[in-house]
């Protein structure tokens, strides 16, 4: 039999034990928090290249460094899938001049530090060509390293202006860059008659370039358009109540957002919740199915999304935007995100096609071949063409427009809607 007193004594001891235990728990929790915060984005999905440097008759070593995780995972995964599909296709048909491509599969976690680490691994494995470079902070860092090392850095889907402006001999970009995005955004807003623009950008390198690009484009356009408020939002924000609140207070008649999908989701939901009834126009970073589905379901605001499919329309004699996406959806193995996937697929095609004509897979020979190559024709983008002085493959930008939960617009002039349902 245990007496009540004994139980009470035991309880006091238990409380005392719990007190010291609590201190340990707190210390431990703080350590966990610090480690976890520091470790965010450091998860790895990489597979090391286990072979040595390229030889003249062995496989051609290329590094694929992708945003499999982190803020840009949404687009990064499909960009990787599509590029790998193109490489597999070329390998299946004999490779580049009878040499197979040995493509590594590495995850930079949308984190510049991890991007540097993976770049170093790729270099140690003998790669002189790297693909991927999607998320602006990672892409610009890797491009700088590649420029120093004379390694060819080929971005399948980054909108980073800094990759190609100022010109860098060893860096290539394919997505319309932020400056092109901004000019087309201003063109679209002008066609809508909008003058007072609110800008919400992500608080990192990606967001900063959208701010600078839009400021320049607004200034260049003239016509009384002005940016009435500039807000920032964290890349992984889950709530944008305050940003949208400030936009409402500013009296803006349109909102431009320079963010990736997580922050775009928060902004769209907050805009819908707070009844911000002005059009929202997005730079290319938010072009994902998550964003497109959101404005067609839970938060049906008026939304214009910069599409990586640049809809070359009749001037290039191919189908436009959505039709091309539908027709080509199956090719890169993606049923959900044709935009960036298709762009990555065809950009990779342009690179590999030029490599067929290169004297060797050495970066300088590939660069010469890219400049000399005929424009790369495809069903989705304008012909991809690089020159000695310009390493941007595409120079145009169009938008998908959603209203009342439906896709209703494709183009860059509200009066000239080229969308065909």
């Amino acid at each position: 039999m245990v007496s009540k007193q004994a139980i009470e004594v035991e309880s006091v001891q238990q409380v005392q034990t719990r007190g010291s235990r609590w201190c340990r728990v707190f210390s431990l929790g703080t350590v966990v928090a610090v480690i976890a915060t520091g470790a965010t984005g450091c998860g790895s999905n990489s597979s090391d290249s286990s072979t040595g440097p390229s030889s003249s008759d062995g496989p051609i070593k290329m590094a694929g460094i992708w945003d499999y995780t982190g803020a840009d995972a949404e687009a990064g995964i499909v960009v990787a899938k599509a590029a790998k599909a193109k490489v597999a296709e070329v390998n299946a048909s004999g490779g580049i001049n009878d040499r197979k491509i040995d493509l590594t599969d590495q995850d930079d976690a949308s984190d510049p530090a991890k991007g540097v680490l993976e770049y170093r691994k790729a270099r140690d494995g003998g790669a002189e060509l790297i693909m991927g470079l999607s998320y602006t902070p990672v892409a610009t860092t890797q491009c700088e390293l590649a420029q120093k090392d004379h390694v060819l850095a080929f971005s399948n889907a980054s909108t980073a202006t800094a990759l190609t402006d100022p010109f860098k001999q060893y860096c290539y970009a394919n997505t319309p860059t932020a400056d092109i995005n901004a000019q087309e955004i201003v063109k679209l807003l002008t066609s809508m008659g909008k003058k007072r623009i609110a800008l919400v950008s992500q608080s990192d390198g990606y967001g900063e370039q959208t701010v600078s690009a839009l400021e320049k484009a607004v200034e260049a356009a003239g016509g009384g358009m002005e940016i009435v408020t500039k807000q920032t939002i964290a890349a992984d924000a889950t709530d944008a109540t305050s940003q949208i609140g400030r936009v409402k207070s500013s009296g803006a008649d349109a909102v431009v957002i320079g963010v990736l999908t997580p922050a775009a989701t928060a902004l769209i939901k907050a805009a819908y919740q707070q009844r911000l009834d002005v059009p929202m126009v997005s730079f290319g970073g938010a072009f994902t199915p998550t964003t497109a589905k959101l404005v067609q379901t839970s938060a049906p605001i008026e939304f214009y999304l910069s599409s990586p499919g640049t809809c070359p329309q009749s001037q290039y004699g191919i189908k436009c935007g959505q039709d091309a996406m539908k027709a080509l959806r199956a090719k890169p193995g993606s049923t959900d995100v044709p935009g960036f996937a298709l762009l990555s697929y065809y950009a990779t095609g342009a690179l590999l096609s030029a490599m067929q004509q290169a004297k060797s897979p050495a970066p300088d020979d590939v660069i010469a071949a890219l400049s000399a190559a005929a424009p790369y024709q495809n069903d989705f983008t304008p012909p991809i063409k690089y020159t000695d002085a310009d390493h941007r493959g595409i120079h145009e930008q169009f938008f998908e427009g959603y209203k009342d939960g439906k896709l209703y617009f494709f183009g860059n002039d509200i009066a000239k809607n080229t969308y065909t349902p």
């Binding site: 939002i233 889950t238 709530d239």
Partner: protein, 286 residues
């Protein structure tokens, strides 16, 4: 002030969810002495199950909630049985390490099974504001209502039923509770199942307002941990107040300052309160 009111409204909704998860955290800690670092992952589990049941299977929302919460409760039971059970007599450090490892494994499993890309959970009710000023939507009202009901029901179970007495007895003194017929292992299983169910329910309710991804689990775990520490480890009332405080202060800071400071709020708040009151806002009481 009119600018701050919507931020308070948004913060209260977030705070409610943090509070529910913090209560689940405290419940497990009080009953078993284990600090559950998988809470965020259990929320995410609820979210992914909800996605799968609604989008892939095509079930309506209510059956989805019941099934998702039920499966999560079973997962909670399994965590105690498979991971914590063998470590029952080990040090706290070993137990916490085991749970952190489990959280990491869960993240990996979510990524493999559901993919790394983010998803928008279908909204179960409109996200459009229906309460002027506070800007609460019908979804927000459901979150507030369900959280209050769940916490009230938990209090009733803990303080007005024999089951609650067993749980509190096992928490106060497992040895003595065992001597009077309470099976501490069964209490632990039940508590883990209940705690996991609550975390999962919180996930199912809040994630349609946010964005579902495997990586959000860590953030949610840290927020609920901060709420528990702030309120006073072991105090249910403290967990609720801590959760609400973090939610509101975070939203108001976001409103008053440029974006990017919110993640620091919970940590700074925790440090400030602990400097003044090292045991948190409320004393531990089971």
């Amino acid at each position: 002030l009119s600018d701050v009111v919507p931020a308070i409204g948004s913060g209260l909704v977030d705070g409610m969810i943090i509070a529910m998860v913090a209560v689940s955290f405290t419940l497990i800690y009080n009953a078993t002495g284990v600090v559950n670092f998988t809470n965020g992952q259990l929320m995410v589990l609820g979210g992914y199950l909800s996605w799968w049941l609604q989008v892939d299977v095509g079930l309506p929302f209510i059956p989805t909630v019941v099934i998702a919460v039920g499966i999560s409760a079973f997962v909670g039971f399994l965590i105690d049985r498979v991971v914590i059970g063998p470590l029952r007599d080990s040090s706290l450090l070993v137990q916490v390490t085991g749970l952190i490892a489990l959280a990491s494994v869960m993240d990996g499993v979510f990524r493999k099974v559901f993919g790394a890309e983010s998803r928008n959970l279908p909204a179960y009710l409109s996200l459009r504001s229906v309460v002027p000023g506070l800007n609460w939507s019908a979804t927000d009202l459901v979150i507030i209502g369900v959280t209050l009901v769940v916490i009230a029901a938990l209090m009733v179970v803990l303080y007005r039923t024999p089951t609650g007495s067993y749980m509190r007895a096992a928490a106060d003194n497992p040895l003595a509770a065992g001597l009077v017929g309470v099976n501490p292992n069964r209490v632990a299983y039940g508590t883990w199942a209940l705690g996991a169910a609550m975390a999962s329910l919180a996930g199912v309710l809040i994630l349609p307002r946010l964005l579902l991804s495997s990586s959000i689990g860590l953030t949610l775990t840290l927020l609920s941990f901060a709420a528990v520490v702030l309120g006073g480890f072991g105090s249910l009332i403290g967990a609720i107040v801590g959760g609400l405080l973090i939610g509101v202060v975070q939203a108001v800071v976001a409103r008053q300052f440029e974006g990017g400071w919110e993640p620091l709020v919970s940590l700074v708040l925790m440090m400030v309160v602990l400097t003044a009151r090292p045991s948190g806002l409320f004393r531990a009481a089971t």
